[in-house]
């Protein structure tokens, strides 16, 4: 089962293992719009159709920011 860390700002908001087969299913499970986050595996970005492997460690990084500019 892939392990997923959801990072919002500098902190890890969620660290869970989820039974999902693709990035699309993962985002649906976490109720996250695809253009709101980056889905990262190692040094690469994943598109929604990408298959996830049980040994995967996935980072979800919020793309949205609002202040301090």
């Amino acid at each position: 089962v892939p392990r997923v860390k959801v990072r919002r700002g500098g902190r890890v908001e969620k660290d869970v293992s989820l039974e999902v087969r693709t990035v699309r299913e993962l985002l649906k499970e976490l109720d996250l719009p695809a253009d709101w986050v980056l889905v990262i595996r190692g040094q690469e970005l994943l598109t929604p159709d990408e298959a996830l492997r049980p040994e995967d460690e996935i980072e979800i990084r919020f793309a949205v920011s609002g202040g301090g500019r």
């Binding site: 970005l45 929604p48 793309a63 949205v64 920011s65 609002g66 202040g67 301090g68 500019r69």
Partner: protein, 312 residues
Amino acid sequence: MKCRRCGARAQVNIRSANTAFCPDCFLLYFRRQVARAIEEWHMFTHDDRVLVAVSGGKDSLALWDVLLDLGYRAGGLYLDLGIPEYSDISREKVEKFAGDRGAHLLVVSLREEGLAIPHVVKFSPRGECASCGLIKRHYFNKMAGEAGYTVLATGHQLDDEAARLLGNILHWHEERLYDQAPVLPPVGKMVKKVKPLFRLGEMETAAYAFLRKLDYIMDECPYSLGAPYLKYKEWFSRLEEEFPGIKRNFYFGFLKRRLFRQPPREAENVCTECGFPAAEEKCSFCKLRERALAGRPRKPSSSFSSGPSQLE
């Protein structure tokens, strides 16, 4: 998913354009979108000195990075807001970015000016973000003029502009629509302002920053949490899931219809203190500065504001 350009495995999916790119082709696409924005809107040329307002976040560092990459004479201006921890980290990121590239960086410390944000918000009748924006705009204009820059560039991207437009329409801040074009002409002492990332979505600037390995601050400004602006962005992203491209249609439709029609931007009044355009004898910045330095408490805000006008 395959890259539209070269057929390799895609890493960035741009649903609004029904396309996807591999890292190399995405970076090329990103640069071309920025170059197109600059040319189509006559933002600046390679002869201009462009000052990029940098916060240490992904958008402003991505903008500075891409402008340097495109060969523009781009320097940076970092305003240290004096917010404990947040400002220390972001300043370090910006200084490292500039140092690594040998780029010109101006730094203004609001703490040294007596205007650190945690202090100012106690004395401002505006909200935190509005007060901060007011101070930033003043220093951006001041520093650009003093340092001989001809253009000021900010990292606002499509999601910022669409969310701001939505907020302005929801509250019928009609006069603020004038400031929503990607180019604002100079007014009095204020330099020309441009938003070269307006064609690109926030996810795209985040992907660019990731693929370029930019070391940016991921923490949100602690004062921006819960801002209405962020709610609009979330709402738009959820709408975009159902209707890909709706954000782009919304903002580009606004531009196409030229609903931002700018009135002649002559500075009718100038502030007696700082000389920048003002609605009254003193501009809002100088009034806020005076109140903060004197330690006079704020009066409660009388109405909700989704963001200040660019002129004030």
